[in-house]
C-alpha cells in the first residue's frame, strides 16, 4: 500500500477521534459546569423542596421550581401532540404521493422557516395565535382565556419545530431503498400499506429520533414561547391557562442574576433542571430506539 494513503488514513482517523472526543466532552463539561454553578443553592435548600415546591419568591430566598417544570412539560407535550401527526403525515405525502415539483418547492420553504429567528415566530404568535386561542378555540371549549396560554405556546412551538422534524423525516423517507418499495408493492400492497408496514418500520429509528429531537427543541425553545405563554408563576390547570417555562425563566432573569443573592445559582439550577429533563427524555427515546432496532 502506498505510504501516503496509509498516512492519510492515520491522520484522518486521529482527527476523527479528536473531534468525537470533543463532542463527547462538551455535554459533560456543560453538565458539570451547571452542577458546579448550582451548588450554592443546593447547599442551602433541600433538593426535593427546590423541585416540588411552587413558592417562587427569590428576594425571600424561596425558590420552588415546580410550576416552571409543570408548564414546560405541558407546553412541550402539547406541541408534540400537534406536530407529530402533522409532520409524519405530511412527510409521507410529500415523498410518496405529491408530485415532484411540490417537494422541490417545499424544501426551500422549509429551509427559510428553519432560518427565521424565533423573535419573528413570537411576533406571529402574538398577532395570530394568541387572539385565535382567546377568541375562537377557548370559547369553543367553553373556557375563558386571554389567549396568553400554554396552548398558544404549544402552537407556536409546534410550528417552529416543523422545519426540523419535517426535514429529518423527509431525509428518512428519501433514503428508503427503491427495492423496498418494489418488494412490497409487487406483493399487491397498497401504497399506504407499503408505507405503514415497510417504510415506517425501516425508518422507525430515524422517525423516533426525529421526534426525540423535536421534543428537545421544543423544551429548550425560549424567546418565542415566552412571548405568548403568559409567564405567570402558577400550576396551570388547563391548556388555556398561562404558564411560565424554564427557558423563559432563564432568559427573562438572566440579566438580574447579580442582584439577588443565590439568584444566579438558582437560574443555573433551572438550566440544570432543563438539562436533566433532556437527559431523561433522551434515555427514554434511546431505549425505544434500541428496542425497535433489536428486532
Amino acid at each position: 500500500m502506498l505510504l501516503s494513503r496509509k498516512l492519510t488514513d492515520n491522520i484522518s482517523s486521529k482527527w476523527m477521534v479528536t473531534c468525537l472526543t470533543f463532542c463527547l466532552l462538551l455535554p459533560l463539561a456543560i453538565g458539570t459546569g451547571l452542577v458546579f454553578k448550582s451548588t450554592p443553592l443546593l447547599s442551602e435548600h433541600r433538593l426535593s423542596e427546590l423541585v416540588f415546591s411552587k413558592d417562587w419568591f427569590p428576594s425571600d430566598n424561596r425558590f420552588g421550581f415546580w410550576s416552571f417544570i409543570v408548564s414546560s412539560v405541558w407546553v412541550t407535550v402539547l406541541s408534540l401532540i400537534i406536530s407529530i401527526p402533522l409532520c409524519l403525515l405530511s412527510a409521507i405525502y410529500l415523498t410518496q404521493y405529491a408530485p415532484k415539483w411540490f417537494l422541490k418547492f417545499m424544501r426551500p420553504v422549509i429551509d427559510i422557516l428553519a432560518g427565521i429567528p424565533s423573535v419573528v415566530y413570537g411576533v406571529w404568535g402574538l398577532l395570530i395565535v394568541v387572539p385565535l386561542v382567546g377568541d375562537k378555540i377557548a370559547p369553543f371549549f367553553g373556557k375563558e382565556s386571554l389567549g396568553y396560554s400554554l396552548l398558544a405556546g404549544a402552537i407556536v412551538l409546534a410550528v417552529m419545530s416543523i422545519p426540523y422534524i419535517l426535514n429529518m423525516l423527509l431525509e428518512v423517507f428519501r433514503q428508503m431503498p427503491v427495492e423496498l418499495g418494489e418488494a412490497s408493492l409487487a406483493l399487491g400492497a397498497t401504497k399506504w400499506e407499503t408505507i405503514k408496514h415497510s417504510f415506517l418500520r425501516k425508518g422507525s429509528t430515524g422517525i423516533i429520533s426525529a421526534f426525540g429531537l423535536g421534543f428537545s427543541k421544543a423544551l429548550g425553545e425560549t424567546i418565542a414561547v415566552l412571548m405568548v405563554v403568559g409567564n405567570v408563576v402558577q400550576i396551570p390547570k388547563s391548556m388555556f391557562d398561562s404558564g411560565y417555562t424554564l427557558p423563559g425563566l432563564i432568559a427573562n432573569n438572566y440579566g438580574e442574576m447579580m442582584s439577588i443573592p443565590s439568584y444566579d445559582s438558582a437560574l443555573m439550577f433551572g438550566a440544570l433542571l432543563l438539562f436533566v429533563i433532556i437527559v431523561i427524555i433522551n434515555v427514554i427515546f434511546r431505549y425505544i430506539i434500541y428496542k425497535s432496532e433489536a428486532l
Binding site: L146, M257, S259
Partner: protein, 304 residues
C-alpha cells in the same frame, strides 16, 4: 481624576487608532444613548461606540463581567448590587406610567376618578381587587381587570413595583415580553391594565399620546378624584414637567444610570460622561426624557 489615562491616550492618539467604548443594558436608555453617541461622534469621530440593549439586568451583568465598558441601568441599585463594586452615574430621569385601553367602557369614570396608590397595589400586588366593579363601585360591570406585567426582568417593572415598596416578582398578571408587548396587549384588551415606560405612552415626535392606550391617572392626594394639579398627562412636555417638579411620584419616576465596574480609568470614557452631564443634557428633553436638576448635575459631575 484622570490618572493613568494619559498612557492610554498616548497609545491611541500616537498610532491614530480609534478607541472603542461598548454599552449594554436597559431598553429604556437605549434610544437616548444612541442619540448621545451620534452627537458625540460628530465632535469626537475617533471614538467607536457599540451599543446593545437587553434590559437593565443584562447591563449590570455584562458590565460586572467585563464584557462591556458601560452598563445602562434603569432602576435603583440594590444593596447586594452595590456590594459587588459597581460605580454608578445618574444621567437623566424618566417615569413608568400605568396604562389602560381608550375604548374601555369605563374610560371616562376612570379618568375622572383616578386610582389611588393602595388600589393599584390591590390590583397589581395583592390581587384583592379583581373586577372593575370592585374598583369603581356598583355601576361598573363585573368584568375582570386583566393585568399585564413585564415578563423580562426590567427596570420599568421594578420601578413600578417600587411604588408599593415591592419587587418585580411580586407583580401579578400576564407576563409579556418587553415594553411594546405590554403596550400592545393593553391596546388589544378592552379590560386590560398595565404599565409602560414614558416613550411607549407618548409619541416622542408629536408629544401626543400613542393611539389605543391612555394613562390611568394616579390619585396622588387620595381624595377620590383627579384634581387639576393631578392632571398633567395631556402631552409629553406637561408630563415631563410634572416629573421634573416632583408632582408625579417617584418611584415610579426614576433615575437612569450609567454603570461601570469600579470607577473607570479610561480617559475617553470620563470625557464622554462629562459631556453627557453638560452639553449632552440638551438632547435629553428632545429624546423624551427628563433632564436632571442643576443640583444633581453638579453632584454627578463632581463624582467624575
Amino acid at each position: 481624576g484622570c490618572t493613568g489615562g494619559s498612557k492610554e491616550e498616548k497609545n491611541t492618539s500616537g498610532s491614530g487608532n480609534t478607541v472603542s467604548i461598548s454599552f449594554s443594558g436597559a431598553f429604556a436608555l437605549y434610544p437616548l444613548v444612541q442619540t448621545w453617541v451620534t452627537e458625540y461622534n460628530k465632535i469626537h469621530p475617533e471614538i467607536r461606540f457599540d451599543v446593545q440593549a437587553g434590559g437593565a439586568g443584562k447591563g449590570l451583568t455584562d458590565c460586572l463581567a467585563g464584557a462591556v465598558d458601560v452598563g445602562m441601568f434603569s432602576r435603583e441599585l440594590t444593596d447586594a448590587e452595590n456590594e459587588k463594586g459597581v460605580w454608578s452615574l445618574s444621567v437623566c430621569k424618566d417615569a413608568v406610567l400605568p396604562t389602560m385601553n381608550v375604548k374601555n367602557p369605563l374610560y371616562n369614570e376612570v379618568q375622572a376618578r383616578g386610582v389611588k396608590k393602595e388600589e393599584f397595589k390591590a390590583i397589581f400586588v395583592d390581587n384583592s381587587i379583581k373586577t372593575w366593579q370592585q374598583l369603581l363601585g356598583k355601576g361598573a360591570g363585573a368584568d375582570n381587570i386583566n393585568v399585564y406585567t413585564r415578563a423580562d426582568a426590567a427596570g420599568a417593572a421594578d420601578s413600578w413595583a417600587a411604588f408599593f415598596g415591592k419587587k418585580q416578582e411580586n407583580l401579578k398578571g400576564i407576563g409579556v415580553n418587553a415594553d411594546p408587548g405590554v403596550a400592545d396587549a393593553v391596546r388589544k384588551d378592552l379590560k386590560g391594565i398595565g404599565y409602560n415606560n414614558t416613550l411607549f405612552v407618548f409619541d416622542q415626535k408629536t408629544g401626543n399620546k400613542l393611539p389605543g392606550i391612555d394613562v390611568v391617572p394616579i390619585d396622588v392626594n387620595g381624595n377620590g378624584k383627579i384634581d387639576a394639579d393631578e392632571n398633567f398627562y395631556g402631552n409629553l412636555s406637561t408630563f415631563l414637567q410634572a416629573v421634573n417638579d416632583g408632582k408625579f411620584p417617584s418611584p415610579p419616576a426614576r433615575n437612569l444610570y450609567f454603570l461601570t465596574k469600579g470607577k473607570t480609568q479610561k480617559k475617553e470614557l470620563l470625557d464622554f460622561f462629562k459631556w453627557v452631564l453638560t452639553d449632552g443634557q440638551k438632547f435629553v428633553h428632545v429624546a423624551g426624557y427628563v433632564p436632571l436638576s442643576e443640583t444633581t448635575l453638579t453632584e454627578q459631575v463632581q463624582k467624575l
